[in-house]
């Protein structure tokens, strides 16, 4: 997939109507710019970092002031958005790239947060701790615990079909939540408070502004993007695609299905481990209430609406689920919008959008390039469903067997 692509091709693919109407006088400079963008290679991450770093400055200069709400508030929303971008990037690997429906993704996030809380100088003096280390030293552990949980949930569930996997992961989230609520070492429903803010020398992140939290998130997000992009463009990414499209065929072609599925879970969990660490030290208070089942669904909404399998789409999805409702909430000024409460009503709208996206734009807003070529979706499992359609006139001979097998 690494072949040279021109801006014209991209336009034709994504916005065919617009592409037809765009004259060459506009297209040529675009082509040059796109070529330059491709040539700078790694430099694009530097540019992205610079742009991201500018966002809070823009907010301070009044980017959001027409909407209302203070600049600290918007920077706080920015931090939350960053956390959800990390989560969406991770879930995108599991759902978008490997095609495994994980409805309990936030459980990994929760484990990352609790690991951080239980390994730092948090809570009351008699609160249980594994160790009391400086917050920075805990990062690898938050990461590793989340990844191990990925193995723990990935390995036993490999044999399960897609929808069973969805339920087991949902059950995994629910059960983890219940266990954390019931255990005493996690301080049960009371949660863990006073998780220390990170500091460098005399400088403490907690004190000053939301700025620095965002600057903590930028390298995490960029590293996650680089890692996922490289995996996706490597053999691993092609294995994932093969598994997603036809597991049986992939296995027959020598794809190490088991290993690759577990790897997807582990890579996916890794970003949520880091996000969990940031969440714990940022909010400084976590309790089971902070990780409801609903949040797993919200992250799924982000990935689906943004674009399954697309890294930019996942990031866009993270922005959509956190920032857009806040904008609407500010504009509505505490009122309901057409009877919808801006906070809970957003879930209804996102639910609606999931259906609409699945029906009209299955690739999401920013469809992954590779996935676009595959979305005709002729997996063996879909055979039953396809033939049910009124236009299911395709000769069903090869699929018939697998359909019968399913019904056994």
């Amino acid at each position: 997939m690494a072949g040279r692509v021109t801006a014209r091709q991209l336009m034709n693919e994504r916005f065919p109507k617009l592409a037809k109407r765009t004259p060459d006088s506009v297209m040529n400079p675009l082509e040059t710019a796109y070529g330059a963008w491709r040539r700078i290679g790694f430099g694009r991450y530097v540019i992205a970092a610079a742009l991201m770093a500018y966002v809070p400055i823009a907010i301070d200069r009044g980017l959001m002031s027409p909407i209302g709400g203070g600049s600290e508030y918007w920077k706080g929303i920015l931090v939350q958005t960053g956390v959800y971008i990390l989560l969406a990037l991770g879930l995108n690997v599991v759902v978008g790239l490997a095609g495994l429906l994980d409805l309990g993704y936030v459980a990994f996030f929760m484990l990352g947060s609790y690991t951080t809380a239980l390994m730092t100088h948090s809570g009351a003096p008699d609160q249980f701790h594994f160790v009391q280390w400086p917050v920075w030293a805990v990062i690898p552990f938050a990461l590793v615990v989340a990844m191990l949980a990925g193995v723990a949930i990935g390995l036993p569930t490999l044999r399960l079909r897609g929808d069973y996997l969805a339920i087991v992961t949902l059950g995994f989230h629910a059960a983890t939540l219940l266990v954390i609520t019931n255990l005493t070492i996690t301080n049960g429903p009371r949660g863990i408070f006073a998780i220390p803010n990170p500091s460098i020398g005399d400088f403490s992140f907690g004190l000053v502004s939301e700025y620095y939290w965002w600057y903590l998130l930028i390298p995490a997000i960029l590293l996650a993007v680089i890692m996922i992009r490289h995996l996706d463009n490597s053999r691993v990414g092609r294995y994932w695609t093969a598994i997603r499209e036809d597991e049986v065929a992939a296995s027959a072609m020598g794809v190490p299905v088991t290993k690759m599925k577990v790897l997807a879970f582990v890579i996916g969990a890794s970003t949520s481990g880091i996000a969990g660490w940031i969440n714990a030290v940022y909010v400084s208070f976590i309790s089971p209430d902070s990780f409801p089942l609903l949040n797993s669904i919200l992250v799924l909404c982000a990935v689906t609406i943004g674009g399954m399998g697309s890294i930019a789409g996942a990031a866009l999805g993270g922005i959509i689920i956190i920032t857009v409702p806040e904008i609407i909430r500010q504009l509505a000024g505490g009122n309901t919008v057409f009877g919808f409460d801006p906070d809970t009503g957003r879930i209804a709208i996102f639910g609606f959008l999931l259906v609409v996206v699945m029906i009209f734009k299955p690739g999401g807003l920013l469809a992954a390039r590779r996935r676009r070529t595959e979305l005709h979706e002729t997996g063996a499992e879909a055979a039953v469903l396809q033939t049910g359609g009124s236009r299911g006139s395709r000769p069903p001979a090869p699929q018939a067997q697998s359909a019968g097998k399913d019904a056994e």
Binding site: G171, A174, G345, A348, M358, L385
Partner: protein, 311 residues
């Protein structure tokens, strides 16, 4: 761990009653799965719509506040169940038409159906949570039935409403069994669950049968929603969440796709859950339920009674 033998009797009885509700709800999951080989993630919303519609029709529109007796009571309860069942059947039919069929026509992948169903479920549930519908608070279910103790069994009070639940659950199972095994629609449903292509070649109208499957499953889901409201005296926007997960677990326990299995699975789950408090604290009840689900899925994915519509 110390076990309290005195709890065995009463938790057995209450577990049985609870299990009947799970079983009724599980029918919807199992029917759709039998035909489409898909878990209908929106069934929890269908269940809630049954309870909600009765709240609106009998509580708000008709404004019933005093319990009925005798023949009138029997009539009211049948009306309640029909209204709830039909509302849910309608919702299930709309769900199939709007969230499933377009995907089928496109030949979409399995993942798309699951996500679409989750979307539909959250849309309906959070729509109902808005102030212009039920709102976030629990709402009082119309007082059509004077809940009294019917009799005592093994130290547990069996209420009048519990008797109704068991009777309705048994009637529904028998009715569904007949529908599946005797009627032509049932024959088509069985044919579809055995072999879609062959069924289609034999002249089965696939779209119509799938629609009917959703309608029948939705009808029983709605009845379960109404009975839940009747028993607990309230309806709430998220009443389907827990009920949905439990009913799904029940369906899997019994072997999803298997109707008698779903019934048995529901009752088993009710018993496992309630009887777990004999030995462990009530806060671990749901952990036990989820663990059973995960273990069954991992070690015996076809459930205890195997997958087959019509049993």
């Amino acid at each position: 761990m110390h076990c309290n033998a005195g709890l065995i009797g009463p938790t057995f009885v209450t577990g049985l009653i609870l299990g009947s509700l799970y079983a009724l709800t599980a029918l919807g999951y199992t029917m759709v799965y039998g035909v489409l080989k898909l878990i209908n993630f929106a069934h929890d919303a269908i269940f809630m719509i049954g309870g909600m519609s009765v709240f609106y029709v009998f509580g708000i529109y008709l404004g019933i506040t005093t319990p009925a007796t005798g023949v009138l009571l029997a009539g009211t309860i049948v009306a309640l169940l029909l209204v709830g069942g039909m509302a849910s059947a309608g919702a299930a039919s709309a769900l199939e038409r709007l969230a499933y069929r377009p995907l089928r026509e496109r030949g979409a992948a399995r993942l798309s159906y699951l996500i679409s169903a989750i979307g539909a479920s959250f849309f309906a549930t959070y729509l109902v949570q808005q102030q212009f519908l039920l709102g976030p608070a629990k709402r009082i279910f119309p007082d059509v039935l004077n809940v009294t103790t019917a009799f005592k069994l093994f130290g547990a009070n069996v209420l009048s409403v519990d008797v109704i639940i068991i009777v309705v659950a048994v009637l529904c199972l028998v009715a569904l069994d007949r529908i599946i095994n005797v009627t032509s629609t049932g024959r088509s449903i069985r044919a579809l669950s055995e072999d879609v292509v062959a069924a289609q070649l034999m002249g089965v109208n696939v779209n119509r049968v799938i629609q009917m499957t959703f309608i029948i499953g939705g009808f029983f889901g709605g009845i379960a929603g109404v009975l839940t409201g009747l028993k607990f005296g309230n309806v709430v926007w998220n009443m389907g969440f827990v009920a949905g997960i439990k009913a799904f677990t029940a369906a899997v326990l019994g072997g999803i796709g298997n109707i008698r299995g779903a019934m048995l699975g529901g009752i088993m789950l009710g018993l496992i859950e309630n009887m777990s408090v004999v030995c462990v604290g009530s806060e671990w009840k749901n952990v036990v339920a989820f663990s059973v689900l995960v273990l069954v899925l991992i070690f015996r994915p076809t459930g205890i009674f195997g997958e087959k519509v019509g049993g």
